[in-house]
Symmetry: C2
Subunit: 221 residues, 2 copies
DNA sequence: AGACTTATCTACCACTCGATACAAAAGTTG
DNA sequence: CAACTTTTGTATCGAGTGGTAGATAAGTCT
C-alpha cells in the first residue's frame, strides 16, 4: 500500500482559522479568498480536505462543538437545576466576550439567513443550537426526578428560555456589548429561572405540550 | 420649473418587497437580481431611487421602523412597568411569527456579520435595535418616578434584558419555532421581570455575588 | 406644440464568487 | 532507484456580483 504525499498543513489549525472567519463574517460573508488566506492554503487543498465551502463550515462547526464540549459538561454537572442555569448563563457571558474569539456565538453569527444556494446553512446552525437546548432540557428532567426542580416545573420551557437568552446574548455581544452587560443580563435571567422553578406551584404549566419543534421547513421565496 | 417623468412604481410598495428579501436572506444574501425582481423594477430605477444597495436597506429599515412605531407606542403606553414588559414580550411573540412576514426580526436576520464591503451593516442594525432598548429604558425610568417600579430597580438592566430576550426570540423564530414556543419564552421572561422589579425589596438578589466563576477548562487555541 | 426634465430600459462593465484541470512536487513502498 | 499515490501551486473556469452608460419614453411647463 502506498501512502502518497502527506498533507502539509495542520487540519485543526486550519479549521480554527476558518472558524474565526465564519464567525466574524458569517457564511455568506466569508469568501474563499478570505478563508484560504486565513488558513494559509490554496483552494485545491481546501477542496481536497473538506469537499466544499459548506463542508468546511460543517467541519468548523464540529470543531467548535468539540472545543465547547468540556465547557458544557461542566455546566451540566451543576449540582442543582439552578446551578446548572447559573453556570450556563455565566459561561455564556464570558465566552461570548472572550477576546480570543470574535464576539458573540458562531452558531448565531454564522448565518440566520443566507442567500441562494446556501439555504440549508441556517438549518445546520439551528440544529446545533437546538442540541444545547436538548442537553439542558434533559438535565432539567433529571433535576425534576432528583427533586431539585419543582414537580410542576416545565423542563422544556426552562431549557428553551435559557437557550433563547443565550442567543440573545450572542446578538448583544455581536453588537459590541461588553462583558458586564452580558453578566447583567445573565443575572436578571437567572432570577427569572429561579422564579419559574420555585413559584409555579400556584399556576401549573401545561405539560402535555410537544417538546418544541426545532427546525421546520421554510417556504422558498 | 419642469417636473420630469413621474416615477412609475410605488416607493413604499417596492420597499415592502425589498424589506422582505432582506428579511429572508440577509443583506449579503440578498442579491440585486432578487431585489429588483421582487420590487418589479430594473437596476437603474433602484439606483436612481435609493442610491445603492446599502441605501435601499436603510430605506427599508426606515419603513420597518415606521410600520412598527404604532406598535411600540402601544407597548410604551402600558400603565405600569410590568404591563409594558408584558405588552412588549407578547407583541414580539406575535410579530416574530406573523405569517405575513418572514419569521424572526429583520433587525436580527438582516445581518449580524457581513462580508467585505458591508462591514457597517451590522452596526446599522445594532443601532436600530438599541433604539428599542432605549425607549424601554426611558419608559422604566419614568415608571420609577411614577412609583410603579421599585426604587432600587435598574431600568437599564431591565430594558437590556427585555431587548436581549427579544433578539433571542428572533433567533428562535428564524429557526422555525412556532408561536406558542415564543409565547412560552415570553411568559418565563416576564416572570423574571416581575421578580426583579417587585421582589427586590423582599428577597434581594446578592448583587455582590462574584460574576459567576468560569472554572471549566477552556482550551485556548 | 415644443422645450425641458426625469425615469426607464437594454445592454454591459469590471470584478468577485465558488470551484477545478493540470502538471509539478513530495512523500511511501517494492 | 523506480513505481505509485496523494497534495500542492498556477492558472483559470463559467456564473453571478453590484453598479452604470446611453438611448428612449413619459410626463410638466411655457
Amino acid at each position: 500500500m502506498v501512502m502518497g504525499r502527506p498533507r502539509s498543513f495542520d487540519t485543526d489549525k486550519a479549521l480554527d482559522e476558518a472558524m474565526e472567519v465564519f464567525w466574524r463574517h458569517g457564511y455568506d460573508g466569508a469568501s474563499l479568498a478570505m478563508l484560504t488566506k486565513a488558513m494559509g492554503i490554496k483552494p485545491p487543498s481546501l477542496y481536497a480536505a473538506f469537499g466544499s465551502k459548506e463542508g468546511l463550515l460543517k467541519a468548523a462547526l464540529d470543531r467548535y462543538a468539540q472545543k465547547r464540549s468540556a465547557h458544557m459538561r461542566y455546566v451540566l454537572a451543576g449540582p442543582t437545576a439552578r446551578d446548572v442555569a447559573e453556570r450556563f448563563l455565566s459561561s455564556i457571558a464570558e465566552s461570548h466576550t472572550d477576546p480570543a474569539n470574535p464576539p458573540g456565538c458562531l452558531l448565531v453569527q454564522g448565518g440566520l439567513a443566507c442567500g441562494a444556494g446556501s439555504e440549508n446553512i441556517p438549518f445546520e446552525l439551528a440544529a446545533r443550537r437546538a442540541q444545547t437546548e436538548t442537553e439542558l432540557r434533559e438535565r432539567f428532567v433529571q433535576a425534576k426526578q432528583d427533586g431539585d426542580l419543582a414537580a410542576d416545573a416545565d423542563p422544556a420551557a426552562l431549557a428553551r428560555f435559557l437557550s433563547t437568552v443565550a442567543s440573545g446574548m450572542g446578538v448583544l455581544a455581536s453588537s459590541g456589548a461588553d462583558r458586564d452587560a452580558l453578566r447583567e443580563v445573565a443575572r436578571v435571567s437567572l432570577s427569572a429561572f429561579t422564579t419559574c422553578h420555585a413559584s409555579v406551584s400556584g399556576r401549573p404549566y401545561d405539560e402535555r405540550r410537544a417538546p418544541a419543534p426545532i427546525v421546520s421547513p421554510r417556504e422558498s421565496s
